[in-house]
Symmetry: C2
Subunit: 136 residues, 2 copies
DNA sequence: ATTAAATTTGCAACACTGTTGCAATAATAA
DNA sequence: TTATTATTGCAACAGTGTTGCAAATTTAAT
Protein backbone atom coordinates (compact mmCIF):
# COMPACT_ATOMS: atom_id res chain seq x y z
CA UNK A 1 0.00 0.00 0.00
CA UNK A 2 1.25 3.30 -1.19
CA UNK A 3 1.03 5.31 2.03
CA UNK A 4 3.11 2.80 3.94
CA UNK A 5 5.73 2.90 1.24
CA UNK A 6 6.00 6.64 1.70
CA UNK A 7 6.24 6.42 5.47
CA UNK A 8 8.84 3.67 5.31
CA UNK A 9 11.00 5.93 3.23
CA UNK A 10 10.46 8.97 5.47
CA UNK A 11 8.33 10.95 3.09
CA UNK A 12 5.20 12.83 4.15
CA UNK A 13 1.99 11.63 2.58
CA UNK A 14 0.57 14.20 0.23
CA UNK A 15 -1.84 14.00 -2.65
CA UNK A 16 0.81 14.35 -5.35
CA UNK A 17 2.92 11.63 -3.86
CA UNK A 18 0.24 9.04 -3.33
CA UNK A 19 -1.17 9.73 -6.79
CA UNK A 20 2.14 9.47 -8.62
CA UNK A 21 3.38 6.52 -6.61
CA UNK A 22 0.11 4.75 -7.33
CA UNK A 23 0.64 5.50 -10.98
CA UNK A 24 3.98 3.71 -10.92
CA UNK A 25 2.58 0.82 -8.91
CA UNK A 26 0.00 0.21 -11.61
CA UNK A 27 2.26 0.70 -14.60
CA UNK A 28 4.00 -2.21 -16.26
CA UNK A 29 6.47 0.08 -17.99
CA UNK A 30 8.81 2.86 -16.99
CA UNK A 31 7.35 6.37 -16.94
CA UNK A 32 8.86 9.71 -17.84
CA UNK A 33 8.05 13.09 -16.40
CA UNK A 34 6.10 13.88 -19.57
CA UNK A 35 4.02 10.72 -19.12
CA UNK A 36 3.02 11.78 -15.64
CA UNK A 37 2.48 15.40 -16.56
CA UNK A 38 0.16 14.58 -19.43
CA UNK A 39 -2.11 12.69 -17.05
CA UNK A 40 -2.16 15.23 -14.25
CA UNK A 41 -1.30 18.57 -15.79
CA UNK A 42 -4.44 20.30 -14.53
CA UNK A 43 -4.02 18.75 -11.12
CA UNK A 44 -0.37 19.25 -10.25
CA UNK A 45 2.29 21.76 -11.21
CA UNK A 46 5.07 20.44 -13.42
CA UNK A 47 7.75 21.60 -11.00
CA UNK A 48 6.05 19.66 -8.24
CA UNK A 49 6.09 16.56 -10.41
CA UNK A 50 9.80 17.00 -11.05
CA UNK A 51 10.45 17.38 -7.35
CA UNK A 52 8.29 14.40 -6.50
CA UNK A 53 10.19 12.18 -8.92
CA UNK A 54 13.49 13.41 -7.56
CA UNK A 55 12.59 12.73 -3.96
CA UNK A 56 11.31 9.27 -4.88
CA UNK A 57 14.61 8.64 -6.60
CA UNK A 58 16.61 9.92 -3.68
CA UNK A 59 14.68 7.95 -1.09
CA UNK A 60 14.90 4.71 -3.01
CA UNK A 61 11.32 4.32 -4.21
CA UNK A 62 12.15 4.73 -7.89
CA UNK A 63 15.18 4.06 -10.03
CA UNK A 64 16.21 5.70 -13.25
CA UNK A 65 16.17 3.50 -16.30
CA UNK A 66 19.22 4.00 -18.49
CA UNK A 67 18.40 4.72 -22.09
CA UNK A 68 19.89 6.12 -25.24
CA UNK A 69 17.19 8.74 -25.56
CA UNK A 70 17.74 11.87 -23.56
CA UNK A 71 14.68 11.75 -21.40
CA UNK A 72 14.63 10.35 -17.89
CA UNK A 73 12.41 7.35 -17.31
CA UNK A 74 11.65 5.92 -13.90
CA UNK A 75 10.40 2.63 -12.54
CA UNK A 76 9.53 1.28 -9.09
CA UNK A 77 12.33 -0.30 -7.13
CA UNK A 78 11.46 -3.84 -6.24
CA UNK A 79 14.04 -4.66 -3.65
CA UNK A 80 14.65 -2.63 -0.56
CA UNK A 81 16.41 0.38 -1.91
CA UNK A 82 16.79 3.30 0.43
CA UNK A 83 18.22 6.78 0.62
CA UNK A 84 21.73 5.36 0.94
CA UNK A 85 21.84 2.73 -1.72
CA UNK A 86 20.07 1.35 -4.75
CA UNK A 87 19.96 -2.30 -5.78
CA UNK A 88 18.51 -2.22 -9.25
CA UNK A 89 21.00 -4.26 -11.21
CA UNK A 90 18.56 -5.96 -13.50
CA UNK A 91 17.68 -6.15 -17.17
CA UNK A 92 15.70 -3.44 -18.95
CA UNK A 93 14.04 -3.96 -22.29
CA UNK A 94 13.13 -1.14 -24.64
CA UNK A 95 10.85 -1.77 -27.59
CA UNK A 96 11.91 0.06 -30.71
CA UNK A 97 8.36 0.19 -32.01
CA UNK A 98 6.27 1.34 -29.09
CA UNK A 99 9.22 2.86 -27.17
CA UNK A 100 8.01 1.33 -23.93
CA UNK A 101 10.61 0.27 -21.41
CA UNK A 102 10.05 -2.54 -18.95
CA UNK A 103 12.06 -3.96 -16.07
CA UNK A 104 12.96 -7.62 -15.76
CA UNK A 105 13.60 -7.74 -12.06
CA UNK A 106 14.12 -11.48 -12.09
CA UNK A 107 16.72 -11.63 -14.83
CA UNK A 108 20.04 -11.10 -13.13
CA UNK A 109 23.07 -9.71 -14.87
CA UNK A 110 25.89 -12.24 -15.19
CA UNK A 111 29.27 -11.40 -13.82
CA UNK A 112 31.53 -9.66 -16.31
CA UNK A 113 35.18 -10.68 -16.36
CA UNK A 114 37.92 -8.24 -17.24
CA UNK A 115 37.13 -5.39 -14.85
CA UNK A 116 39.00 -6.68 -11.84
CA UNK A 117 40.78 -3.47 -11.02
CA UNK A 118 37.60 -1.43 -11.06
CA UNK A 119 35.26 -0.82 -8.16
CA UNK A 120 31.79 -1.77 -9.34
CA UNK A 121 28.70 -0.29 -7.75
CA UNK A 122 25.97 -1.10 -10.22
CA UNK A 123 25.30 -2.79 -13.53
CA UNK A 124 22.46 -2.13 -15.92
CA UNK A 125 21.74 -4.08 -19.03
CA UNK A 126 19.65 -2.37 -21.67
CA UNK A 127 18.28 -4.63 -24.36
CA UNK A 128 16.52 -3.17 -27.37
CA UNK A 129 14.32 -4.89 -29.86
CA UNK A 130 10.65 -5.68 -30.39
CA UNK A 131 8.39 -6.50 -27.48
CA UNK A 132 5.72 -9.20 -27.38
CA UNK A 133 2.83 -6.87 -28.20
CA UNK A 134 4.62 -5.38 -31.19
CA UNK A 135 5.71 -8.65 -32.86
CA UNK A 136 4.16 -9.25 -36.31
CA UNK B 1 42.91 8.34 -41.09
CA UNK B 2 39.96 10.57 -40.53
CA UNK B 3 39.28 11.67 -44.11
CA UNK B 4 39.02 8.11 -45.35
CA UNK B 5 36.59 7.31 -42.56
CA UNK B 6 34.36 10.10 -43.78
CA UNK B 7 34.54 9.00 -47.41
CA UNK B 8 33.85 5.39 -46.54
CA UNK B 9 30.66 6.46 -44.85
CA UNK B 10 29.61 8.75 -47.69
CA UNK B 11 30.16 12.01 -45.89
CA UNK B 12 31.83 15.04 -47.49
CA UNK B 13 35.05 16.12 -45.87
CA UNK B 14 34.66 19.49 -44.20
CA UNK B 15 36.58 21.26 -41.49
CA UNK B 16 34.00 20.64 -38.77
CA UNK B 17 33.83 16.96 -39.54
CA UNK B 18 37.53 16.23 -39.68
CA UNK B 19 38.09 18.27 -36.53
CA UNK B 20 35.34 16.61 -34.50
CA UNK B 21 36.06 13.13 -35.78
CA UNK B 22 39.70 13.63 -34.90
CA UNK B 23 38.61 14.69 -31.46
CA UNK B 24 36.81 11.39 -30.97
CA UNK B 25 39.69 9.39 -32.43
CA UNK B 26 41.99 10.86 -29.80
CA UNK B 27 39.63 10.62 -26.86
CA UNK B 28 39.68 7.62 -24.56
CA UNK B 29 36.24 8.47 -23.20
CA UNK B 30 32.83 9.26 -24.61
CA UNK B 31 32.14 12.89 -25.45
CA UNK B 32 28.99 14.97 -25.15
CA UNK B 33 27.90 17.87 -27.30
CA UNK B 34 28.89 20.21 -24.47
CA UNK B 35 32.38 18.69 -24.37
CA UNK B 36 32.87 19.42 -28.06
CA UNK B 37 31.27 22.83 -27.92
CA UNK B 38 33.48 24.02 -25.08
CA UNK B 39 36.56 23.25 -27.16
CA UNK B 40 35.40 24.78 -30.41
CA UNK B 41 32.74 27.32 -29.55
CA UNK B 42 34.49 30.20 -31.30
CA UNK B 43 35.24 28.03 -34.29
CA UNK B 44 31.95 26.26 -35.05
CA UNK B 45 28.31 27.03 -34.48
CA UNK B 46 26.56 24.87 -31.89
CA UNK B 47 23.85 23.84 -34.34
CA UNK B 48 26.52 22.64 -36.74
CA UNK B 49 28.05 20.56 -33.98
CA UNK B 50 24.66 19.00 -33.24
CA UNK B 51 24.17 18.22 -36.89
CA UNK B 52 27.65 16.81 -37.23
CA UNK B 53 27.12 14.46 -34.31
CA UNK B 54 23.79 13.36 -35.69
CA UNK B 55 25.14 12.59 -39.13
CA UNK B 56 28.04 10.65 -37.60
CA UNK B 57 25.51 8.68 -35.61
CA UNK B 58 23.33 8.03 -38.62
CA UNK B 59 26.20 6.97 -40.87
CA UNK B 60 27.66 4.61 -38.31
CA UNK B 61 30.78 6.50 -37.25
CA UNK B 62 29.63 7.12 -33.69
CA UNK B 63 27.32 5.35 -31.30
CA UNK B 64 25.34 6.75 -28.42
CA UNK B 65 26.39 5.59 -24.99
CA UNK B 66 23.42 4.76 -22.78
CA UNK B 67 23.48 6.51 -19.47
CA UNK B 68 21.27 7.48 -16.57
CA UNK B 69 22.08 11.14 -16.95
CA UNK B 70 20.03 12.96 -19.52
CA UNK B 71 22.78 14.12 -21.79
CA UNK B 72 23.82 12.32 -24.92
CA UNK B 73 27.35 10.97 -25.00
CA UNK B 74 28.99 9.55 -28.08
CA UNK B 75 31.94 7.31 -28.82
CA UNK B 76 33.62 6.00 -31.94
CA UNK B 77 32.29 2.79 -33.39
CA UNK B 78 35.02 0.21 -33.59
CA UNK B 79 33.46 -2.39 -35.80
CA UNK B 80 32.06 -1.69 -39.21
CA UNK B 81 28.86 0.05 -38.41
CA UNK B 82 27.11 1.74 -41.30
CA UNK B 83 24.03 3.74 -42.12
CA UNK B 84 21.90 0.62 -41.95
CA UNK B 85 23.08 -1.05 -38.79
CA UNK B 86 25.09 -0.59 -35.64
CA UNK B 87 27.12 -3.29 -33.90
CA UNK B 88 28.05 -1.74 -30.60
CA UNK B 89 26.92 -4.35 -28.14
CA UNK B 90 29.75 -3.95 -25.70
CA UNK B 91 30.35 -2.90 -22.12
CA UNK B 92 30.41 0.74 -21.04
CA UNK B 93 31.87 1.89 -17.77
CA UNK B 94 30.95 5.16 -16.09
CA UNK B 95 33.01 6.48 -13.21
CA UNK B 96 30.93 8.01 -10.46
CA UNK B 97 33.73 10.32 -9.41
CA UNK B 98 35.02 11.82 -12.63
CA UNK B 99 31.84 11.05 -14.63
CA UNK B 100 33.88 9.83 -17.56
CA UNK B 101 32.47 7.03 -19.67
CA UNK B 102 34.63 4.57 -21.53
CA UNK B 103 33.92 1.73 -23.94
CA UNK B 104 35.18 -1.80 -23.46
CA UNK B 105 34.95 -2.98 -27.02
CA UNK B 106 36.57 -6.29 -26.22
CA UNK B 107 34.27 -7.29 -23.37
CA UNK B 108 31.31 -9.00 -24.95
CA UNK B 109 27.91 -9.18 -23.36
CA UNK B 110 26.92 -12.71 -22.36
CA UNK B 111 23.71 -14.17 -23.68
CA UNK B 112 20.72 -13.49 -21.45
CA UNK B 113 18.23 -16.29 -20.98
CA UNK B 114 14.54 -15.61 -20.44
CA UNK B 115 13.81 -13.34 -23.38
CA UNK B 116 13.14 -16.02 -25.94
CA UNK B 117 9.93 -14.55 -27.28
CA UNK B 118 11.47 -11.15 -27.84
CA UNK B 119 13.26 -9.97 -30.94
CA UNK B 120 16.61 -8.59 -29.81
CA UNK B 121 18.47 -6.00 -31.85
CA UNK B 122 21.05 -4.68 -29.44
CA UNK B 123 22.33 -5.03 -25.91
CA UNK B 124 24.22 -2.47 -23.89
CA UNK B 125 25.68 -3.05 -20.50
CA UNK B 126 26.36 0.00 -18.37
CA UNK B 127 28.56 -0.57 -15.36
CA UNK B 128 29.05 2.20 -12.82
CA UNK B 129 31.67 2.50 -10.14
CA UNK B 130 35.13 3.96 -9.69
CA UNK B 131 37.64 3.95 -12.53
CA UNK B 132 41.34 3.20 -12.22
CA UNK B 133 42.44 6.82 -12.06
CA UNK B 134 39.95 7.66 -9.33
CA UNK B 135 40.73 4.75 -6.96
CA UNK B 136 42.12 5.83 -3.59
C1' DA C 1 -8.51 20.46 19.19
C1' DT C 2 -4.99 24.32 18.54
C1' DT C 3 -0.93 26.00 17.77
C1' DA C 4 3.98 25.96 16.24
C1' DA C 5 7.61 24.04 13.41
C1' DA C 6 9.00 21.96 9.35
C1' DT C 7 8.14 20.39 4.86
C1' DT C 8 5.84 20.75 0.51
C1' DT C 9 3.50 23.20 -3.18
C1' DG C 10 2.69 26.56 -7.01
C1' DC C 11 4.28 30.33 -9.52
C1' DA C 12 7.66 32.95 -12.05
C1' DA C 13 11.82 32.97 -13.99
C1' DC C 14 15.75 30.93 -15.70
C1' DA C 15 19.43 27.57 -17.77
C1' DC C 16 20.49 23.87 -20.66
C1' DT C 17 19.73 20.57 -24.51
C1' DG C 18 18.21 19.87 -28.89
C1' DT C 19 15.60 20.98 -33.42
C1' DT C 20 13.83 23.55 -37.68
C1' DG C 21 13.75 26.96 -41.60
C1' DC C 22 16.21 29.60 -44.57
C1' DA C 23 19.73 32.19 -46.97
C1' DA C 24 24.73 32.11 -47.70
C1' DT C 25 28.63 29.28 -48.32
C1' DA C 26 31.53 25.39 -49.50
C1' DA C 27 32.36 20.67 -51.62
C1' DT C 28 31.78 17.51 -55.30
C1' DA C 29 30.63 16.20 -60.08
C1' DA C 30 30.27 17.49 -64.86
C1' DT D 1 35.01 26.62 -64.54
C1' DT D 2 30.57 26.07 -63.91
C1' DA D 3 26.42 23.69 -62.14
C1' DT D 4 24.61 20.80 -58.70
C1' DT D 5 24.26 19.28 -54.26
C1' DA D 6 25.25 19.20 -49.51
C1' DT D 7 26.79 21.84 -45.54
C1' DT D 8 27.10 25.87 -42.56
C1' DG D 9 25.62 29.83 -39.58
C1' DC D 10 22.08 32.52 -37.82
C1' DA D 11 17.68 33.31 -35.65
C1' DA D 12 14.03 31.46 -33.53
C1' DC D 13 11.76 27.97 -31.22
C1' DA D 14 10.42 23.65 -28.32
C1' DG D 15 11.35 20.51 -24.61
C1' DT D 16 13.56 19.19 -20.23
C1' DG D 17 14.99 20.32 -15.85
C1' DT D 18 16.29 23.60 -11.84
C1' DT D 19 16.07 27.51 -8.33
C1' DG D 20 14.05 31.12 -5.19
C1' DC D 21 10.37 32.57 -2.67
C1' DA D 22 5.81 33.21 -0.62
C1' DA D 23 1.61 30.57 0.41
C1' DA D 24 -0.39 26.34 1.78
C1' DT D 25 -0.07 21.58 4.05
C1' DT D 26 1.57 18.17 6.94
C1' DT D 27 3.29 16.63 11.17
C1' DA D 28 4.55 17.07 16.00
C1' DA D 29 3.77 19.29 20.36
C1' DT D 30 0.96 21.42 23.49
Amino acid sequence: MVENLLKNHSLRTTKVRTTILDCFAQSKTALSHADIESRFEDEFDRVTIYRTLNSFLEKGLLHKVPDDSNIARFALCKTDCNEHQHFDNHVHFKCEKCSKVQCFHDIAIPNIPGLNEYTIHSANLLIQGICLECQD
